[in-house]
């Protein structure tokens, strides 16, 4: 939508937009951004990286013809290029504009493709910032996936930002936490960037992106060893930013490692740690079952197994309940654990299906404290199945 010039200069419009949409959810902000005349002509800029698919999916749902700008720095991972094509096709995005640096500029400034080694800022400017500036020229506003939790420089991010009095930058996911991103991708069954599973939670150009170790900040692999946090696209006051990675994001990561075990008597720490093995391993006594595992193959192999953990990839995926019931019918008498996205409202179902306990993330334990699980710890009462089966 072309913006209504009578709505004033960028700064005033940004202030009014932030006031208007302060309490809106991400999808609502995005919907309004696509149609509010105070925003104007708008494009989504996407790296098709680790978390990009969230905004791409939202755009596909709201208006698949929204222009999507993808910057091919010609230094990207092959996986990113194939993932870009796959996602665009699957979501039916109809206006993806792939932009690249001008060949003449590349020939002049980085003929041997080694500029990133001597001056990564100059490389970012050449391959990203300049092509982006050109691509955004026809637009009044652009959408980014930046979030507050991603670092100190982003800690006070608003939905709408004034970019040098020229354009509005829209950040619909500004207030999302890591768990929101994860839940959204799970619930909408969105394809993941193939490198995420290989230890790259944040993905940029191949030479400047490394693996991240457990407990590290997700963006720690970007420009590792350099005092660089932003790539050149996200300018602060028109300049590149330098500075340490935010501490609060690190803390989140550490806490995330400690899951909570829910039983009829309360929350507890996990006494098993991560000590689970594949059911294919002969002699394993603690088994991890995927949501699509065939429990029949365990027939006759349950002797000596202490505990079985069944994964719930999303709370709306009820396969695990039938898997648990089948294991009980096969005579399994050890501990049965439901792990993953199981909510308090499902606790009685889990118990009735044969589970002894539920393993949840600390995030979920904070959001749904013990009282909410306790409310369904009365799973033995009001149970039609018990009544129909005549079981004690």
């Amino acid at each position: 939508m072309r913006h209504d010039p009578s709505s004033g200069p960028v700064a005033a419009r940004v202030e009014a937009l932030n006031a208007r949409y302060r309490n809106h959810a991400a999808i609502a902000v995005l919907r309004h951004a696509l149609s509010d005349p105070a925003v104007g002509r708008i494009a989504l800029v996407s790296s098709f990286g680790a978390e990009s698919v969230v905004l791409l999916h939202m755009i596909a749902v709201l208006d698949r013809a929204t222009p999507v700008v993808f910057i091919d720095t010609q230094m990207l991972f092959a996986e990113t290029l194939s993932y870009q094509a796959e996602v665009a096709a699957q979501l039916g995005l109809s206006d993806v504009r792939t932009i690249r640096a001008r060949p003449a500029a590349l020939a002049a400034h980085d003929p041997d493709r080694l500029l990133h080694k001597s001056d990564s800022d100059a490389c970012c400017a050449l391959r990203k910032a300049e092509p982006l500036e050109r691509a955004l020229a026809p637009f009044d506003a652009w959408i980014t996936g930046r979030k507050r939790f991603q670092g100190q420089t982003r800690a006070r991010l608003d939905f709408f930002e004034n970019e040098a009095d020229q354009r509005i930058k829209v950040n619909p996911l500004a207030h999302w936490r890591p768990a929101d991103v994860r839940d959204y991708m799970l619930n909408n069954r969105l394809p993941r960037h193939p490198l995420v599973a290989r230890g790259y939670p944040s993905i940029g150009c191949a030479p400047c992106t490394g693996r991240v170790k457990d407990g590290e900040d997700p963006r720690a692999g970007r420009w590792r060893g350099q005092e660089k946090e932003e790539c050149g696209i996200h300018l602060v006051n028109g300049k590149l930013v330098r500075g340490p990675v935010a501490d609060d994001a690190r803390q989140d990561q550490e806490e995330a490692a400690m899951n909570v075990i829910v039983t009829d008597t309360g929350f507890a720490a996990d006494d098993r740690g991560g000590d689970f093995q594949s059911p294919d391993l002969p002699g394993a006594t603690a088994l991890d079952l995927a949501p699509d595992a065939d429990v029949s193959v365990l027939q006759g192999r349950l002797e000596g197994v202490d505990i079985i953990r069944i994964a719930f990839p999303a709370f709306s995926d009820g396969r695990g309940f039938t898997m648990a019931r089948r294991l009980r019918m096969m005579g399994f008498a050890g501990r049965l654990r439901a792990a993953g996205h199981v909510i308090a409202d499902q606790y009685a179902m889990a118990r009735r299906a044969g589970f002894d306990e539920v393993e949840i993330t600390p995030d979920l334990a904070r959001r749904q404290p013990w009282e909410q699980w306790q409310a369904r710890a009365d799973w033995r009462t009001h149970d039609y199945q018990k009544r129909l089966r005549g079981l004690a």
Binding site: R326, D345, H382, Y384, R387, L388, R389, L391
Partner: protein
């Protein structure tokens, strides 16, 4: 009919309390919108175009006058004074406010009703033949089995998060009035050689965007195997059903992709496992339930007033000819009250009308009412001598439309007037068709004809099984109505065939009129119904009537 015992009452109350807490936990952020969504859906609460919509179950379509009065009370107190009866024996309220929904659920619990599992990816309200317990052609009353299935499916711990919704329908007669071949599981009561009751089982039926007719999974299972067998089907579906694409997640797709023989082998294997879970106590519960469905003691007295009214009053006679069905007892009749007055919204009833129907049931109908999947209300046991009074009271309430089974007895989904999924209006089309045929004064001459209208490809108006089906689509921002012909939802279920290009909103009513006039021209006599003629002559003469221009060109070329 079945009265809630202590267990059911305590369960429903507890469930309301749970939902009340869930609403609060949504508001305080404990539940995300995505987590809350299936929880409200499994309690019957939808978010529609203008507001929330609450869908209340009328299990197997049976209710008493007290319950009907409470539905009227809810309509007045919390809604806009009316309710909408649906094609799956539910009633929908279109304007409740979220914070008040728990209060509505409490009011329902007061009379042994609920909205549990009327939506969501769960086993939905179990539906049954609306003439159950009264029809002359019945093998056995299907409702005790439907009630047993209701108890079994309610809050079943394994099956609250299925790949997709799951519908079960039961019929007690070989004449299928419950559209069972369009259900995920269709059950037909029959008896074995020794006379013991059991079921023929169909699976994988469904309408929607990929209509399929259910296939026979078992020719006969004895009644004691009902729960373990149905549970076996559900357990196979829960693990096998697709979760990657909601449009391919129904059981019908699994049956289509894996084949009925593979499904049967898996179900048989699961059935072995499940049998041991049931000790037989469910059969004791079943006989207790069945006793509650015993037919009321019917009065034996003369039917002379009925015949006298037929002689004297042509309006009564016309109504009796269309709206009465044979009762197993010759002195009684099954009355269908049409909720399809010409020009009104199919299936809507005002609170005042609900009270009139409740009063009639209490006074003349052994306190029983039924809701049919054709969106009408039934008084199942009315003595023929009382019919003139019943008809008189219905006339005063605007409920005496004599059109059951005729052109204007149309099934229509809410369409774009209410539904956020709809791509076209359906109610106004139904109203215009009914009004037009009322002007032509032709419907009684035309006889049995089922027109069904859906406002989008999800097919809530069952257009696939309409003798004439109408599907409203959006073509570049303009409503466009496709016509299907020859569909049938009975024991001879057939999916209708698309006739050709669609019609605009202005053209669709004249197109239907041309179809019906062509039928009158071509039929051999009044005994030959529209569907029979279609089966005898095929689609071509009907296509010629729909598209006269093409027919002319074809003739010219010949």
């Amino acid at each position: 009919m079945y009265e809630y015992g202590e267990f059911d009452t305590a369960y429903v109350r507890d469930r309301v309390a749970q939902f009340r807490a869930q609403v609060e936990r949504r508001l305080d952020g404990s539940l995300t919108e995505e987590e809350f969504r299936p929880l409200r859906l499994m309690n019957g609460l939808y978010l529609q175009l203008h507001a929330y919509m609450l869908r209340v179950a009328i299990p197997y379509g049976t209710l008493n006058s007290r319950q009907m009065r409470q539905l009227a009370h809810i309509a007045e107190r919390w809604d806009k004074g009316y309710g909408h009866f649906t094609t799956r024996q539910n009633i929908q309220y279109n304007w409740p406010r979220l914070p008040e929904v728990p209060d509505i659920l409490d009011a329902l619990a007061d009379v042994g009703m609920h909205a549990i599992q009327t939506s969501g990816n769960t086993v939905r309200n179990v539906t049954a033949d609306h003439f159950a317990g009264a029809a002359a052609d019945e093998v056995a009353d299907p409702r005790p089995y439907a009630e047993l299935l209701r108890q079994w499916s309610t809050d079943h711990p394994e099956f609250q998060f299925l790949p997709r919704k799951f519908k079960i329908g039961v019929t007690g007669a070989p004449n299928d009035r419950a559209v069972i071949r369009s259900h995920d599981i269709g059950l037909e009561l029959r008896r074995d050689a020794a006379g013991a009751p059991g079921f023929r089982v169909f699976v994988g039926g469904g309408l929607g965007r990929t209509p399929m007719v259910g296939q026979e999974l078992a020719a006969f299972i004895p009644e004691r195997d009902l729960l373990p067998y149905v549970e076996a089907i559900l357990s196979v579906y829960n693990l096998l059903g697709r979760r990657d694409n909601k449009y391919k997640a129904r059981l019908k797709i699994a049956v289509h992709e894996h084949g009925i023989d593979t499904i049967r082998a898996l179900v048989d294997e699961a059935f072995e496992e499940r049998c041991a879970q049931f000790s037989g106590i469910d059969q004791e519960l079943l006989s207790g339930i069945a006793a509650q469905f015993a037919r009321p003691a019917l009065e034996q007295r003369g039917v002379a007033p009925y015949h006298a009214a037929r002689e004297a009053d042509p309006v009564f006679r016309a109504w009796a000819d269309t709206n009465l069905a044979d009762h197993a007892d010759g002195a009684h009749a099954i009355v269908t009250i049409s909720l399809k007055p010409h020009g009104a919204t199919p299936g809507d009833a005002t609170a005042a009308q609900m009270r009139v129907m409740a009063d009639l049931a209490a006074r003349y109908g052994h306190d029983q009412l039924r809701i049919s999947h054709e969106q009408n209300v039934i008084l199942p046991h009315v003595h023929r001598a009382d019919l003139p009074q019943v008809h008189g009271a219905l006339k005063e309430a605007g409920l005496a439309t004599a059109n059951v089974g005729l052109v204007s007895d149309i099934i229509a989904c809410p369409g774009m007037d209410y539904c956020s999924l709809a791509t076209a209006r359906s109610i106004p089309i139904a109203q215009d068709i009914a009004t037009r045929f009322e002007e032509l004064k032709l419907e009684h001459e035309v006889g049995p004809l089922k027109i069904k209208i859906s406002g989008c490809i999800n097919a809530c108006g069952h257009h696939h099984v309409g003798h004439i089906g109408i599907l409203g689509l959006d073509r570049a921002g303009v409503e466009n109505y496709q016509v299907t012909l020859g569909g049938d939802g009975s024991e001879t279920t057939v999916i209708g065939q698309r006739a050709g290009p669609g019609f605009s909103a202005d053209e669709i009513v004249p197109a239907v009129e041309r179809l019906v006039l062509a039928y009158l021209d071509l039929r051999e006599g009044a005994e030959e119904t529209f569907l029979e003629l279609y089966r005898r002559l095929g689609a071509q003469p009907f296509k010629d009537a729909l598209y006269p221009e093409q027919a002319r060109r074809r003739r010219d070329a010949a």
